[in-house]
Symmetry: D2
């Protein structure tokens, strides 16, 4: 694993946390919230695990790879759900989650 | 998975977070801190992942099992390290981590 | 501040996190989610700050009092919102937040 | 409060979390860890509160200002401690904490 690779992954995790929280906030402001409940739940889980992974990487934890695996799994599930909604915030969130999952899997495999 | 089983696991995770943080605090007050650095790192990781698992379970997250797997893995590693130190705080932490890992693995397998 | 007082406050914070997350989960399962959005947001904020306060107290942080002040403020706001809803989960959450706020203010003043 | 102002503050909080965790990791690798224990404790508190503030801002929480106040207070204390140590990681951490505290106070006053 190169430092460059880890720095990129940290950046993607934090960007993903941001997009997940913005999506969560926007979902709660939609005219009809009922169809967004899965998205609300998943963006919260995803934001929290992105933070965990970013904290583990920045402090050089021996468990960073396992944290990145969990992060990638939750990101991937969040992409699936967000892809079901045409809203710009869901699409932006899906893109950030997809990028984050990819970098997290690269860390896990490094 | 029974509600009883999940409630027990939540309780063990929170107890483990507490014992990890008390061990962390005590390690930082030992006369010689150098031999305790692995313990300081691991108790921090462990406290954080215990909180993640407890939060996921209490909010009925679809990812609670995966969070419990990560929690069990980190707890098990923390037991290993704490067992190397005779301090009462390390032994208490190891016991809490062991109990937590067991309950987390039961949730993951349920 | 006595150890007893701190242990009680830690327990109330963790119980409050649990009740907030259970309320959040139940709100997202209500037939009409739209009226529950403020509650969903507040229970999330409250769960997170309860965890922060509990982590700070259990690791004997020099900032535990300030964390308890923020925790008490958010709990109090969460009580206000939950009191607007007759659901059992909202009433249970309000009760836990109220108890937590009280213990946190006692720590802050100790 | 402008969006620009908030985006800047989020960025500073996340940068500060990163520098705090890198300082924490480096402190635990110093030849003599005993003089670094206050720094280890403070960088952990600071990383955690930076994450809380960043999460609150990115999800548009009504408590973001109070979270920023707590964040600024802990950052300021972390600056004080890090300034006592000549290590590059402590100086980098102090600089990030100082920048973060400033932006957080601006949010709180906005």
């Amino acid at each position: 694993m190169t430092t460059e690779q880890m720095m990129t992954c940290i950046r993607e995790c934090l960007e993903c946390m941001k997009k997940c929280n913005q999506c969560y906030d926007a979902c709660l402001q939609e005219e009809e919230v009922n169809p967004m409940t899965a998205c609300i739940r998943l963006t919260r889980d995803c934001a929290d695990v992105c933070v965990l992974a970013a904290q583990f990487m920045t402090r050089n934890s021996e468990h960073m790879k396992e944290a990145c695996v969990l992060c990638a799994d939750i990101c991937t599930r969040c992409v699936e759900e967000c892809r079901n909604h045409a809203y710009e915030h869901c699409q932006a969130c899906a893109a950030a989650c997809e990028a984050c999952a990819k970098k997290c899997r690269a860390i896990a495999a490094a």
